[in-house]
Symmetry: C2
Amino acid sequence: MSVRAGIIVTGTEVLSGQIADQNGPWVAARLLELGIDVAHVTICGDRPADMLSQLRFLTDERVDLIVTTGGLGPTADDLTVAIVAEYCGRPLHDDPALADAIAAIIRNWRGYLPSAELPVALAAAVAKQAKVPDGATPIPPTGTAPGVALPPRDEIPTILILPGPPHELQKMWPTALTTGELSRVLAQSDDIIHESLRAYGLSEPDLAETLRRAEHELPGYHRLELTTCMRGGELEIDARLPRFAASDYAALKSLLLHEHSTKVFSTDGRTLDDLLADSFAGRTIATAESCTGGMIAARLTDRAGSSAYTLGGIVSYANEVKIGVLGVDAALIGDLGAVSEPVAAAMADGARRVTGADIAVSTSGIAGPGGAVPGKPVGTVCFGLAIDGRQTTTCTRQFPGDRTLVRTLATTFALHLVLDALTR
Amino acid sequence: MSVRAGIIVTGTEVLSGQIADQNGPWVAARLLELGIDVAHVTICGDRPADMLSQLRFLTDERVDLIVTTGGLGPTADDLTVAIVAEYCGRPLHDDPALADAIAAIIRNWRGYLPSAELPVALAAAVAKQAKVPDGATPIPPTGTAPGVALPPRDEIPTILILPGPPHELQKMWPTALTTGELSRVLAQSDDIIHESLRAYGLSEPDLAETLRRAEHELPGYHRLELTTCMRGGELEIDARLPRFAASDYAALKSLLLHEHSTKVFSTDGRTLDDLLADSFAGRTIATAESCTGGMIAARLTDRAGSSAYTLGGIVSYANEVKIGVLGVDAALIGDLGAVSEPVAAAMADGARRVTGADIAVSTSGIAGPGGAVPGKPVGTVCFGLAIDGRQTTTCTRQFPGDRTLVRTLATTFALHLVLDALTR
């Protein structure tokens, strides 16, 4: 049997677009790993009526599990527990043990003695956060807010209430899965496999043509639920399938590899960053970044363990830094402009020289909105790649979009350059 | 009259958590600026039944406008136009002028001559993307996919269909607003004001206490719809109010400034990054980053025009780079460890020296998950701040959360250090 879930993300700051939600995607990914199908993610503000509508919508859609995130804080606009309790017809009661646990956390944070009376503001915050719906299971706080798991009742599915701060939510997740409520949902979930394949430099129309062929030629094609997504210049093809259809997916994979072999760079779910991390084999890398302004170094060092291969880099945003730190010839910049392949080459060579890295990659480009010059429109980026024992190479690419997109596409391109050079 | 909208974000890759959606927040923010209240954002995969459910849900919620994003591509899983057309009972027709416009864009991209026959795959993609529901207004493509605006019909509200790639969507927005369908919705919208106030270092319980006081002391408090959000160590208080309640908001702002004056850093909507950009007054900055690995430099250079004050920086992730490029004394690192205030100070001084910047900020810390040593748990970050003509200062902070959060909080803290030093 297939188990379906819905996720309600709360928070006016998310609804109004001031921040991008991290929790919906994170919870969705975890549920999918557990074989639970996510049907809907809904976002609502801190208004009781809108949240009740979304609870009713997901109930009407007959999902087996609703996960809510956020709205557990101490301020008056944090209403999730009260609204869910009302929706399920479960009055709230005070949980003294939970109140003690929350008070202990706050005392510890603030450096109060265990015996000290809490100030009024904090005592009120504790009392609000220690209310639990009747018949529900509280989940110990990982910040100050406890989570809650509610069993199904009549038409209403199992509901899991989680806190909004992503690190609190993520820390609470394993414990939430061990509650009786969640265990019963998980026991019903099915054997679904997820596969993915990633290509760089492949266009969506070309992929669409191959998929139309697959639809005609592969008898089991209809068993695969496929979605494709273009992002950062990478085209990702995701498949969701019952385990018995594994050979149908294998046939599709063969066809895609046959048609687009040079462009497919991952068939086992590993990302560019995963593959890159495995490609260094003891060699070290440094960056010399102008238009990407540190984004390549930040992305390399985003991984735990990246110190095994990342030495660092130079953000040479200004020409003075290109000249003074990386040793680029000022005359070269004067003659050709900073956005030129010879300068990109000199930057990469300079980064290797000053850091001692085996590999260096460089960017120099026009991220926009200003800065375009004749022959070099916004989106022009020159790259340099210096590798110990090889001739330094350069190339120039033209990226579409606004400043942020140009910088993001250039970062991804630079990392593909390195991966290609290290693995092909 | 208040106009309410709902946003449907489509894409299995968003629903399954593989990517964080940018379009929902962006569209929500634009609608709010236009005085339109966003009631719900819903995310669905590329399954017709789930999308139809969400259209029905928003119709039942009596929103005046539905905006959909994504699902306009050439692959078979891109179904938005067909589903919305079915939902509204408007058959699709071919639009030859639109087909010509799309074909011209593709010819231009691929370098085909205007007279050349397109390959089968591309011709199929063009034909699919040039279908328009009867009675609807197509919006010219900004990538290859056109948008569509559909007038209301019976209970169904006005629907605006936009493409998924954020730069295409954002580029299409101004044109979408000029369609007759959207103009009629906008004409009904109200005079609502948004205000926001940002604090750094203020806790949610302390804010909650002040807000409880405000509720008792300020007669017009109930006219303000307030939401609070803690992110990256910053507490943001947002207010939505009718224009006639402006003096009620002013009273609340006075109270908050009175109670938390040293912690409130913005009362006019400007972010840390906005304020920082305005604080340099001709001075230049460079970074020396270890645990933040380039994130501070990337954030500084994220703004157009940042070359007026950002020279660049050194990502000295490895000790060799701290020593070799920034000139940190190797013995200092040997004696005290790289995560120490004297090393952070030497890094900041080194960054000023090698780049010639007036100001340099440095980070050296333990982002985790490994690397903790006795007395320096994961989350420990030392900061250095060197400013021309002043004594270099240092401090150490302990941040909660995982590697990504520690790096993000440290980046925000470093920028607050600079802002404080330049403005107080």
